[in-house]
């Protein structure tokens, strides 16, 4: 295979990268516009950022989003670890495969289906739509990804490690807390992190199960965007872009330590 790229193929790659990044930088550029539209750049100003930081309603929504993300990542990581252990320890092959198939249902299901079915579920169970319904659904759809992040670490671990610990007199609890958990911790971190980003990024499921009065950032952006252009969304997107970059860097370092699970793309 010729390793050199021809000028034509370089041009192709440049165009692809341009198309991928242009809209994002376009958004950020106009967040500094002193005008009110996304088509004529009147001059540099930080007015939209100032407005953003004075918008208490929006700040509360940001806080909500972060609280939901942290709590859902925490709970889904705990249950996900249990799940990965359950799948790993299953003796029969069929049990393992069945559990894995159930695990993957929520990963492959389109968000609308998850959202609609959870809406029915919460209504039937009499759970009021709001903070708790959003939190519960975020926990629910983050669990499978945690399992998938932790499981490879468990399979990779040599069983003789556990045997050795037992021979040396460790109790089950010791084996768990001093051998297994430390060994799979990179997977746990990756899982926690993925759960966090899933929750922060989710729109469709939240949109279904959030009632009036509770809103997350994605839902808020959607309702603002449906009303048309308003440049404080641009300012918000610039801040979110910086935040995303930060997450990418963190994720990059986690995967560097945790090679086998590799790189992931976010779900939608």
């Amino acid at each position: 295979m010729d390793k050199k790229l021809t000028p034509l193929s370089k041009l192709f790659l440049i165009i692809i990268f341009f198309i991928l990044y242009a809209p994002i930088f376009f958004l950020i550029l106009y967040s500094f516009n002193s005008g009110e539209t996304m088509y004529s750049f009147k001059g540099f100003s930080l007015e939209w950022y100032r407005e953003l930081f004075h918008d208490t309603r929006l700040l509360i929504i940001v806080l909500n989003t972060i609280v939901v993300a942290l709590l859902s990542a925490l709970f889904s990581t705990i249950i996900g670890i249990f799940g990965a252990l359950a799948i790993h320890m299953a003796k029969r092959r069929e049990t393992k495969n069945t559990l894995l198939s159930f695990n993957n249902v929520l990963i492959v299901s389109p968000d609308v289906i998850i959202g609609a079915s959870f809406l029915i579920l919460f209504t039937m169970a009499g759970i009021k739509l709001g903070f708790y319904s959003v939190l519960l659904s975020h926990i629910a759809f983050s669990i499978p990804i945690v399992v998938l992040m932790v499981l490879p670490k468990l399979t990779e671990m040599s069983p003789s490690l556990i045997d050795a610990a037992r021979d040396l007199g460790a109790s089950s609890w010791d084996v768990m807390s001093k051998v297994i958990i430390p060994y799979i911790s990179p997977g746990i971190f990756a899982g926690f992190f993925m759960a966090l980003t899933y929750s922060l990024d989710d729109f469709a499921v939240t949109f279904f199960v959030t009632g009036n009065g509770f809103s997350t950032l994605s839902v808020e952006i959607y309702s603002l965007a449906r009303r048309g252009i308003s440049l404080n969304i641009n300012a918000l997107s610039a801040l979110l872009f910086l935040f995303t970059m930060l997450l990418v860097v963190i994720y990059y370092f986690i995967t560097q330590r945790n090679k086998p699970s590799g790189m992931g793309v976010r779900k939608r």
Partner: protein, 267 residues
Amino acid sequence: MENKLTRNLYKIPYLLWILVFVIVPIALVVYYSFFDIEGHFSLGNYRKFFTPVYLQMTVSSFWYAFLITAISLIIAYPTALLLTKTKHKQLWLLLIIVPSWINLLLKAYAFIGIFGTYGAANSFLKVIGIGQQQILFTDFSFVFVSVYIFIPFMILPIFNSLNELNPTLIDAANDLGASKWTTFRRVIFPLTIDGVKSGCQVTFIPALSLFMLTRLIAGNRVITLGTAIEQHFLVTQDWGMGSTIAVFLIIIMVLIMVLTNTKKRGV
């Protein structure tokens, strides 16, 4: 302490999760699909689904999803192929993936600005002499934005399978006198078909169901299955009909999963 009960205790939360959030919701969707808007048991929703209105919607939703998947594939495959030939390929791949981490709604919002009546796309069209066009709220803008959003998801699995390809196979094909095109058609493409399949899988199913894009970008010109479900659940409150469409979407999804069944690699 070492008895069977405590040893199995840790499984409970996870199994409970499977029951409550995986099995029960799907069962509820199927259950609801048998009720009409007044809450009477009937097969009316299924009858309604097979009327021309809904069938036409399903077909057009499929057509759009197919178009989006095909265009993404045509763009993503060469990109992935060229990326594997670059020097710092992991870094370039990371740069391709970064846009996929940015909130989808913000990307859609950016296109509302770009494709708007006075937006960047229209000023460009004016400069090259075509003149102002209606771009936003057309099927073109819907397909374009969807392709934009799905390209990273398509590139990643294809890149991974190309990366795993043994380069000596290509050398062998060259030595045996295969032209570049023959090598691609007979060696490279067949060996990376798994990546292509999982790429199509992660594009096609969401393309059928993303309702926020049709709402924001296509106005209400494009109705996909996802839009119809959202409409029935949150606007007309006809949960029965919404569930019926959801049942069909689940069936379609399972079919696609079976058709593109790979050995669980890639994404």
